[in-house]
């Protein structure tokens, strides 16, 4: 199967005065797994629906390979979609659901059946072909939806928060399975989620969206460690945005004049674990909480700003003895201190 690249070129969409997509441009490579990540109302689902053909952009272009699909009917796009609620057809059994796209393509019955069964085996649903959709568990429905979306060998797959209805354990299993399926098929995949962990685990690249715009598009690691905006920094995890001047260099060199982002888990309480070029933040311990795998300390800097410090239990020898009100210095290595251009704390 040959998968295709996707080009999203300055796409905008407004509903009345509400701007759902604000001049969005994005290139997705053939075979890439790209995640659109953002809070609800950020435009990620609108963008996905525009690709699927259910939302017509006010302006801009959508290209599948070299083909302009901006105005192409959804049924002519050959894009497999997995919906949030699966959207299985309750009046058909599992096999009929999966053969449906093949029947529409006039695939001979025997071949359609064989391909559907092979696809069901691929998503580990062998033996359930004749089962009624209503008799399936959430995880099984999810797999039927996947099988139905890939059985006709689409060039692109779109997934709209497909795991949000599953419980935590199943969700983690499915994250790996969907990723493995993607790797086996090599199909260009655009995945929508509001769960940053899911995005980090599954994606080749993540596009973080907010208020109809793409804030940053990068590899999971760079999105996490090198966020380009304050929004991205805070959306991806426990981020401290530290005002210029609050942090001093351990080696006494002149401190950065920029707003810094330091993740809570980047801190150590032992200066020896951090290089000489690292930074130190001193403040009063306002609160501490034991969270099992780590301790969460809340420091109040002299400027009044609060900083979250997360120390892994394995390295937190002294945390239990710390008393609130006492002065504590937290150290972070230079590699984990990231200046956010243009941001203010």
């Amino acid at each position: 199967m040959k998968s295709l690249p996707i080009t999203i070129d300055s796409v905008s969409k407004a509903y009345g005065t509400y701007v759902a997509l604000d001049d969005v441009s994005l290139d997705i490579q053939a075979g890439e797994f790209l995640t659109l990540l953002g809070p609800s109302g950020s435009g990620k689902t609108t963008l996905l629906m525009a690709l699927a053909g259910f939302v017509r952009p006010d302006s801009g272009k959508l290209l599948l390979g070299n083909r302009d699909i901006t105005r192409l009917a959804p049924n002519k796009r050959d894009i497999g979609i997995v919906f949030q609620n699966y959207a299985l057809f309750p009046h058909m059994n599992v096999l009929a659901n999966v053969t449906y796209p093949l029947a529409l393509r006039k695939t001979p019955r025997a071949e359609a059946r064989q391909r559907a069964l092979a696809t069901l085996a691929r998503v580990k649903l062998d033996g359930l072909a004749e089962r009624n959709v209503a008799a399936l568990s959430g995880g099984q429905r999810q797999r039927v939806a996947l099988a139905r979306a890939i059985v006709f060998e689409p060039r692109v797959m779109l997934m709209d928060e497909p795991l949000s209805a599953l419980d935590k354990n199943l969700r983690e299993t499915m994250q790996y399975e969907i990723r493995r399926l993607h790797d086996d098929l090599g199909i260009t995949t655009i995945y929508v989620t509001h769960d940053q962990r899911e995005a980090l685990i599954m994606s080749d690249r993540i596009a973080v969206m907010n208020s109809g715009r793409i804030q940053q598009i990068d590899t999971p690691q760079r999105i996490y460690d090198r966020p380009s905006t304050r929004f991205v920094a805070e959306f991806m995890g426990e981020a401290n945005i530290v005002a210029p001047g609050s942090a001093r260099r351990i080696d006494g060199a002149e401190a950065s004049r920029e707003t810094l982002m330091i993740r809570a888990e980047s801190f150590h309480l032992d200066a020896k674990l951090v290089g000489r070029d690292g930074v130190a933040l001193e403040g009063m311990l306002r609160a501490k909480a034991f969270r099992g795998e780590n301790w969460l300390l809340t420091l109040a800097l002299d400027s009044g700003q609060e900083v979250l410090v997360c120390i892994p239990s394995a390295l937190a020898g002294g945390c239990a003895e710390l008393a609130t009100g006492q002065r504590v210095t937290a150290y972070a290595p230079a590699a984990k201190v990231h200046a956010i251009p243009g941001a203010t704390a």
Binding site: A52, G53, F54, A73, P74, N75, K76, R77, D78, I79, G80, I81, F83, Q84, N85, A87, L88, F89, P90, H91, Y100, P101, L104, R105, R148, A149, F152
Partner: protein, 263 residues
């Protein structure tokens, strides 16, 4: 449910008696024509002194009544066949458009069901007269479709509101055009509502008299029109025989549909 009522025997007896009275009040006027229709007398009299099937023979032997029956059944069938698909498409578009546009379309579509029948008939008469369609079967059909569309919409709108539209989008993404998505995904799942809508549309046409009186004529006369005219001109028990048959047909159709819905 009934379990919610106190376990007081007197209260239960009163409740059931009241329900039985209400049912009787609803049913008796319809049932009273049944013995009348088997009367041997030349007049409508209750209770009849002697019984016979002569009025049924009279009905089935009359070319006029048979023509009217045929007209009514054809009209009812055509009305249902036209009004239900039209209403389904209208309901789908209202469901998709949403907001003020949908509300506007809905009020326009439902207007005929709240307009007094006589006004509708007069209006229709002038419109059809301009098209030289007064007295034709087609003219009456137009009138009946106008009346049946709101009836079908009232049945289909809530059914579509409960329908998961993602299924249609899924079907479209899997390669189905509009017609196939509606025919293969929506229609099979709305089967029961569509059946009810068809029945209601059919009965609306079967039962309609005002438009028929204004628009139909001669051999295009419908059953209700002929029944009205014969009641005015001559009162004989044929009308009771017809009413009994009419009731029987409606009861049978409703029973069949209800039983199908249960299974």
């Amino acid at each position: 449910m009934l379990e919610a009522y106190p376990h007081n025997t007197l209260a239960r007896i009163l409740l059931w008696s009241f329900a039985a009275l209400a049912m009787a009040f609803l049913m008796l006027p319809t049932l009273v024509v049944v013995p009348l229709s088997f009367s041997a007398s030349n007049l409508l009299e209750f209770p009849p002194n002697a019984y016979s099937l002569r009025w049924y023979e009279n009905f089935f032997g009359s070319a006029t009544w048979m023509a009217a029956l045929r007209t009514s059944l054809i009209l009812g069938t055509l009305t249902a066949l036209i009004a239900v698909p039209f209403a389904l498409l209208a309901c789908i578009s209202m469901n998709r458009l949403g907001g003020k546009t949908a509300t506007t379309i809905q009020s326009i579509l439902l207007t005929p069901s709240i307009t007094p029948g006589i006004l509708l008939a007069i209006g229709l008469f002038f419109v059809l007269a301009a098209q030289r369609l007064v007295g034709t079967l087609f003219g009456v059909l137009v009138g009946h479709v106008v009346l049946a569309v709101p009836v079908a919409c009232i049945v289909l709108l809530p059914a579509l509101a409960r329908f998961d539209w993602n299924q249609v989008q899924a079907a479209r993404s899997l390669g189905a055009n509009w017609a196939r998505a509606i025919g293969g995904i929506i229609v099979p799942q709305l089967q029961l509502s569509l059946l009810s809508a068809t029945l209601m549309a059919f009965l609306t046409s079967l039962d309609e008299s005002v438009i028929s009186i204004f628009i139909s004529s001669g051999r295009n006369s419908t059953m209700p029109k002929l029944m009205f005219l014969s009641l005015r001109d001559q009162i004989d028990p044929t009308i009771a025989a017809i009413s009994t048959l009419w009731t029987a047909i409606v009861v049978v159709v409703v029973l069949i549909v209800t039983l199908r819905q249960k299974s």
